[in-house]
């Protein structure tokens, strides 16, 4: 009998047994080993079926040649549930940098996933582009900003998967039952009372950053001071910053998010003041001598919705400084305006791309992008979206 099956603490369906035995090929066998290993780590009582999967581990910059060899070794098994793919390296920059091997590698990774039946939307916001789970559905998602959005805003249930474990869930159709799949683990653990409701997506991002730094991966329940409701972009920005800076895969906002008011309020309560957020902004944002120091603007982290992309495209004009906008693969959109200063990072993202050396100081409204860019030594200035779009 196969070692892995013998070690399982739970009964397996006939299909899972075949996967475990290797009868269905090396890809399913490896996928089963992963799911089963994680079930052991988390002492899961059972495996549960998932409704959809989002896979990370797409950028050649992150997974490299070995990632390709691994994907090849699986021998093209087919995914069993709707599965979408994270952004890849931005190809036009690879071309300008003459990184031919990287271009070939990146295309091969996308092809390998595509051959497994994965939809190559190449977006970190799959919930805007055809992969929108419903309230209380179990899913296995790997992109951190999407994980927190699905959990918090949509009320779906996912742990923060890695690329391989998400792929394994897509191939087997199952994920171990632990963590955020269980209702009890979704309770808020700290109450955060806001002195002022954030006014734009940058301020929501700063709130996420402040909470992440001070409360690590504790699940927060926010109490805004007014009832004005945050936009989709505000919620994206809050969640992305929260999980990037602290690790919490779920937040609640009183009277706003679907699970906020179904749990008892946590006893531990803290205030977040206007000054707290100003201090955080001063700490993480680069302070340029003059605005002229900024040589690039980046918007759309996490990826914008179609409506928001249209709005931003319309606000952009030829006098603006060079601006990059992140979004899904061009195939999913209509006409993209071609303006000399505008770079559409279609199916890509600045954080996972090789960058041109001319990009030294970037302005962005994304507190998540700020984390990744400053860690790569790029001076990053945090400005609200309208100021970003007014830099000439």
């Amino acid at each position: 009998m196969n070692k892995a099956t013998k070690d399982s603490n739970f009964a397996l369906t006939p299909l899972l047994q075949e996967m475990a035995s290797g009868k269905l090929g090396p890809g399913y066998k490896k996928a089963f080993q992963l799911i089963n290993g994680l079930a052991r780590v988390y002492k899961s009582r059972r495996l549960i079926p998932v409704n959809s999967v989002q896979i990370s581990g797409v950028s050649y910059k992150n997974i490299g040649k070995m990632g390709i060899e691994f994907l090849k070794s699986l021998a093209s098994p087919q995914v069993r549930v709707p599965t979408t793919l994270n952004p890849a390296c931005y190809e036009p920059f690879l071309q300008k940098l003459h990184l031919d091997e990287e271009i070939r590698g990146q295309n091969e990774i996308i092809k390998l996933y595509s051959e497994m039946g994965v939809q190559t939307s190449l977006t970190c916001a799959p919930y805007f582009y055809g992969n929108k789970p419903e309230y209380s559905q179990h899913i296995a998602w790997a992109e951190s900003s999407a994980v927190v959005y699905a959990n918090s805003v949509l009320g779906a249930r996912t742990n923060r998967e890695g690329g391989p474990s998400a792929l394994a869930a897509a191939l087997t159709g199952f994920t171990p039952e632990y963590g955020l799949h269980l209702t009890d683990n979704r309770r808020p653990q700290v109450k955060i009372i806001l002195e002022k409701t954030p006014a734009n997506s940058l301020e929501w991002g700063l709130l996420g950053c402040w909470t992440g730094i001070n409360h690590k991966n504790t699940i927060p329940l926010f109490f805004p001071e007014s009832s004005s409701s945050p936009t989709e972009e505000d919620l994206q920005s809050l969640g992305a910053a929260l999980i990037t800076w602290g690790g919490a895969p779920l937040f609640h906002i009183s009277q706003t998010t679907p699970e906020a008011d179904i749990f008892p309020e946590p006893e531990n309560s803290v205030n977040c003041t206007i000054e707290d957020l100003e201090i955080i902004q001063r700490q993480i944002s680069y302070q340029p001598q003059t605005k002229d120091e900024i040589d690039f603007v980046y918007l759309g982290c996490p990826h914008y919705s179609i409506a928001k992309l249209d709005e931003v495209f319309n606000k952009f004009n030829a006098q603006n400084i060079k601006t990059g906008i992140g979004g899904p693969h061009q195939n999913l959109l209509g006409e993209i305006p071609s303006s000399s200063g505008l770079t559409y990072f279609g199916g890509s993202c600045i954080a996972v791309s090789y960058l041109l050396p001319a990009i030294r100081t970037v302005a962005t409204n994304s507190v998540k992008a700020c984390f990744y860019l400053m860690n790569r030594g790029i001076k990053t200035v945090l400005l609200p979206e309208d100021e970003c779009l007014n830099l000439k």
């Binding site: 080993q33 780590v41 691994f70 890695g162 730094i213």
Partner: protein, 416 residues
Amino acid sequence: MGIKQQGIKVKMKLKGKIIYPGKCRGKVLFLHAPLSFYGGVDPDTGKIIQDNHPQKGKSLQNKIVVLSNSTGSTVGSWTILRLAENKKAPLAFITENCDSVLATGSILAEIPHLDNIPIKLLAKIDQLALEQQSINFSPVESDYHFQPKTEPGDDFIIKLGGSVITCKDNPQPRVNSQAITNLAKKLRETKRKFILVHGAGSYGHQPVSRHNLLKRELTLETRVLWSKVQTFQYQLNSQLCNIFQENKLPAYPVQPSAIFRKSGQNLILNPAPVEFLFNNNFIPVLYGTPFFNFAGKIEILSGDTICLMLAKELGFPQIIHLTDAPGFYLKQKQQKKIIKEIKTFQWPGLRQPAIEQLKTGNDTLPDVTGGMIGKMDSLIQAAAAGIESYIIDGNNPSSLEELLQGINSGTRIIPD
């Protein structure tokens, strides 16, 4: 000195939970802190490159890597796979609390991996053998003079009040060597492990309050004075550690302002250096000190606050305070009546009378950190977090000796 039992090999066997099956035998690399594989390990060389890791520069290649868990980005699983493809991977992983990034990595890269092992037992092991579900090794006798017992629940934090270790009546800072020597001798007797925190006494409170430093803007004059305060604290700390070391105790100074920071109202602690020292049988020694908050102001980080934060972050069950008072007391008819036990819910009722007593009494020494009331406030907070504490007479070394044997002559503060 501990005796090495030469020639005697005591075999030990521990059973774990298989993450990826396999057998091997080899050299152990014991990691004293969790590791972030993505960005923390170079997939081409197999070396640790994580900036804040105590074993930065060590290679994982062909070692049986023992660690509690991994941290950081999920991309770390791919890093483990890349290590394997580059032939720089460990022979095996042994973990205590495995996480999904590491489990995924070892399954992908087919590296034998056993979880649920109490890794503290392996801290000084050179070699071990992995046999599918268990590991075999020979425990090593410790050759440290300081041989603490490591049963959890026994560890404590001890705070030596500034007035206990300095000569308080002296207008100039002077250390009370005799008192420190006496305490060091008592602490040498205990088999329990502890962290030491000390106050400032005549080294800190007088200069700060005499010049009213906390209320003044930073000018050249106050900058020099603040620098002086910090230098005094270094001196006190060095002299105390010297005495401990002369008494064969591995007292290791840790500068608190380097591991504490403030964000808004919240005090944040990076416990890694203290944890590292403690886990390796040093006695970390910290002290109350000036430090900087992000609003650009200097404030005092008191020894009491340090005790509270360390106990909470590192999970210590007990704090012992040695003060120049024999415990927390209220005066009745000119008599000091020590309150033997205080529960958190009783404190509000005792706090006001204590403040009144302070106003009418003649507390001669300035204390910029709030004195007994401030201390009690922090211990009540500790009790609310499930940590029990004691206030005992620091001027009488036998009260410490008795307490370590379980007899309390001072005040005990406990949760409701």
